[in-house]
């Protein structure tokens, strides 16, 4: 590939996106409990994917529309699947980290089971 400014920008965006993906993976390994892992997993992978897709769009402008579609899809579905998963985990009583300070949801559910 030729080093035009646009290509260079695309490659840099791609590396930045991949770095966020790696960060997401690292958070997934390091975080102490499920909810924190979901947080690390969702946020970092969403931004990471969006940046990577933007980078590829700079490298291959013809693919722009389809990449935009993939990006929009990820942007909408990623938080939804995280929320559904977090809710399922909370309802099925997954263990929370000992660092957890409060849990209003458990309190409210205890009041009216």
């Amino acid at each position: 590939m030729i080093d035009t400014p646009l290509n260079l920008l695309g490659a840099l965006l791609l590396v930045a996106g991949a770095a966020f993906l790696l960060l997401g993976g690292l958070g997934l390994v390091r975080m102490p409990d499920l909810f924190n892992r979901i947080q690390a997993g969702t946020k970092a992978t969403t931004l990471g994917t969006l940046l990577s897709l933007a980078g590829v769009a700079c490298l291959q402008p013809d693919w722009g529309l389809k990449l935009l579609l993939i990006g929009l899809f990820i942007l909408f579905t990623n938080p939804i699947s995280s929320q559904v998963l977090a809710r399922a985990a909370h309802r099925s009583g997954v263990e929370k980290s000992s660092l957890t300070s409060i849990d209003r949801l458990a309190e409210d559910q205890g009041a009216q089971p």
Partner: protein, 165 residues
């Protein structure tokens, strides 16, 4: 009247996605897209009404881009903060689940709010219950309902209220 407008919006959304998916404006693609979008609109108008709750007033149309911009800014900020937490050896966490309230009434508005919360600094929507949202927070800063609402919800609600109500 409102129903007709909702149908038009739904049709336009569906057709827009079809065209993005195909990435071409050839006649056959266009014809199939129009037919498919029309059929889906007629069959599922009521169950897909969520898509067309967007108000499409001039004010809402101006607000939408600033909402997207604010959202992207928060997304980047959230990632930088998460990065600093994940990369620091001590892993400075103070997680908890707080309760916040939203003024939004429409389903799409609430969905977008929940999604926005999930993608922004250290917060993750765990449960939606009417006007109440339960939010997991990596570093709890305020346990009080009103203070947490001010911290987490208000930034997005400002925009979404105009767009969806």
């Amino acid at each position: 009247m409102a129903k007709a407008r909702a149908s038009v919006l739904l049709f336009a959304t569906l057709l827009g996605f079809w065209l993005l998916l195909n990435g071409s404006l050839a006649t056959d693609v266009l014809v199939i897209g129009v037919i498919a979008a029309l059929v889906i609109t007629l069959l599922f108008r009521d169950s897909l009404a969520v898509v067309s709750e967007f108000r499409a007033t001039p004010h809402a149309l101006i607000t939408a881009p600033s909402y997207v911009f604010y959202f992207l800014k928060e997304l980047v900020r959230s990632n930088l903060r998460l990065a600093s937490i994940v990369l620091s050896p001590a892993l400075p966490l103070r997680p908890g689940i707080v309760k916040v309230r939203t003024r939004l009434k429409s389903r799409m508005g609430r969905l977008l709010l929940a999604n926005s919360i999930t993608l922004t600094p250290g917060t993750l929507t765990v449960e939606l219950d009417g006007e109440w949202l339960y939010v997991h927070w990596v570093t709890v800063e305020s346990e009080d309902v009103d203070a947490a609402t001010a911290d987490i919800v208000n930034g997005f609600e400002r925009y979404l209220e105009v767009m969806y109500g």
